[in-house]
Subunit: 305 residues, 2 copies
């Protein structure tokens, strides 16, 4: 399998697959979301059911020059009703993926994790993988968790790694390099996260985490800049060539990726992990392009299940 | 006073001041450090005493095409002896600032914080301010703490703000805008740091922190991107126009700035805070240019005391 090295290439692959993925969108009355969906529908790889405030959706379609006929529009102005219906469409096999529109992430995910009516796999950790494209890096970076777990514990970090490895392998990276990111490359008591990293590295050595090369703690330079190894005198199999970055907590990952979106021309595709079917949760402040890429990622993952 | 908007402008100002700052360098046997010092000496604003392994320093000078005669070289091959001597030179008024070379930060700072022989101001919080220049941002960003405090508490965060405000005002920014950075703009119990931010904002309102505009929690978009305010519907006086970013912890600040150094062509100038005289601590992996800018910043701050 050819390695996918950019988000544009991801979208091309999904287009070329000839599959139409049915996406149910909860509270779809959001301009960027509609733009991204409209493009995916036009390019032929998505059929979208827009569930929400019909009048507002139609207004936005007119304003954004989108053809209402490209979508199925279902009037559910109450956002809880819209969220529940979107999740149920996936649950009952009437949609292949679900996407959050203009509703709070908390409210949306509450429906996703509902014990009987939700989409979470039994005993699964719910997390998030973000595929980050930065022009200055020579390949894609798979990072976690930028959206769901504020302070992941050891088991949750192991789950984050497995999710990232799974997505990266879907992109054709057979044995991705996983850097466990901290401020230092030393295991020190003053930064407890570095202790968990040492445990994770040992777990990988024992075969408890598979299909990847793991090392940490590492700082961003050692993880992503080959020239820093010699300078720092650190020997690591990641070798400044990481495919996957695991972050200690949400504040850390969030500041990292938002800094790069803003100042390094980054774009991303993100997807919730641990669910039966793809779940797309984007922040309102993400670009329409990142939303489009996330839809493409959901379509790719839906096709692989 | 004219606002300093780039690190190049900072260096120009220091050069134009006509002052020569005497810098004592501990364990100076490091190529990037010598390059940066050599440039500052040549440009006439630094007199440098290189304390360390004389033979190794001379070898490096030859290799880097630096004139040994530009420096005073003092042979102290033992790194603890070199560190102690450098700090004592400042303590006794024989140098105006001290700089770390090829010795661990821990060992170096141990001498700096020594109760009798050290340089810490009475009862001061030792912290670090980093001035970050990112071509894609329209002005300099003063960030803290990227080097010293792993998990600053409320009082330490207040000290970090005060240090940043003081440095920013030295750059001509009369009332800097301080963004307290998190993953969210909501005050939520699940992310305890956001609670501290609410307290800090109130402290500023009560005049306990002065000469600045403070708001938080804010994410990087709300702090640095004016266009995100309308999208997110958040009203904040920072308005995407932050001068200062305060981070929850070292792992967060460190990943943020290293990502931007690597992928957004960042350069920086950094300085320890809470000391009687300027103290320069640079990571080995920082560029020679960032080391040069840090020297210029130390000279500027030495001139203001």
């Amino acid at each position: 399998m050819e390695e996918i090295k950019s988000l544009g290439q991801l979208a091309e692959q999904v287009k070329a697959s000839g599959t139409k993925t049915r996406i149910a969108v909860a509270a779809a009355e959001d301009a960027h979301t509609l733009d991204a969906l409209g493009r995916a529908v036009k390019e032929g790889f998505v059929r979208a059911s827009l569930i929400g405030d019909k009048r507002r959706i139609e207004e936005l379609c007119a304003k954004e020059n989108l053809c209402q006929g490209d979508f199925e529009i279902i009037d559910r102005p109450d956002e809880t009703a819209a969220v529940n219906m979107a999740v149920q469409m996936v649950k009952t096999g009437n949609a292949d993926a679900v996407m959050k529109g203009l509703v709070s992430t908390d409210k949306f995910l509450k429906a996703v994790i509902h014990k009987e009516k939700g989409l979470l796999l039994p005993k699964a950790v719910m997390s998030h993988v973000c595929v980050l494209e930065i022009p200055a890096y020579r390949k894609l970076l798979f990072i976690s968790d930028t959206a769901v777990l504020p302070f992941p514990d050891l088991d949750q970090k192991a789950a984050m790694i497995n999710y990232c490895v799974n997505v990266a392998r879907g992109f054709g990276i057979e044995k991705p390099r996983v850097a466990l990111v901290s401020a230092t490359d030393k295991v020190i008591g003053a930064i407890p996260n570095t202790l968990e990293y040492a445990l994770l590295a040992k777990m990988a050595e024992r075969g408890q985490i598979k299909n990847c090369v793991i090392d940490g703690p590492l700082d961003i330079f050692l993880a992503c800049d080959p020239s820093s190894l010699a300078v720092k005198g650190v020997d690591t199999p990641i070798a400044g060539n990481a495919d996957i970055l695991i972050f200690p907590n949400l504040e850390c990952s969030n500041s990292f990726y938002k800094g790069l979106m803003l100042f390094a021309d980054g774009e991303l595709a993100g997807l919730i992990q641990g669910t039966q079917k793809p779940v797309i949760v984007m922040s309102r402040s993400e670009s329409a392009l990142s939303k489009y890429y996330s839809i493409a990622l959901a379509c790719k993952m839906a096709g692989e299940k």
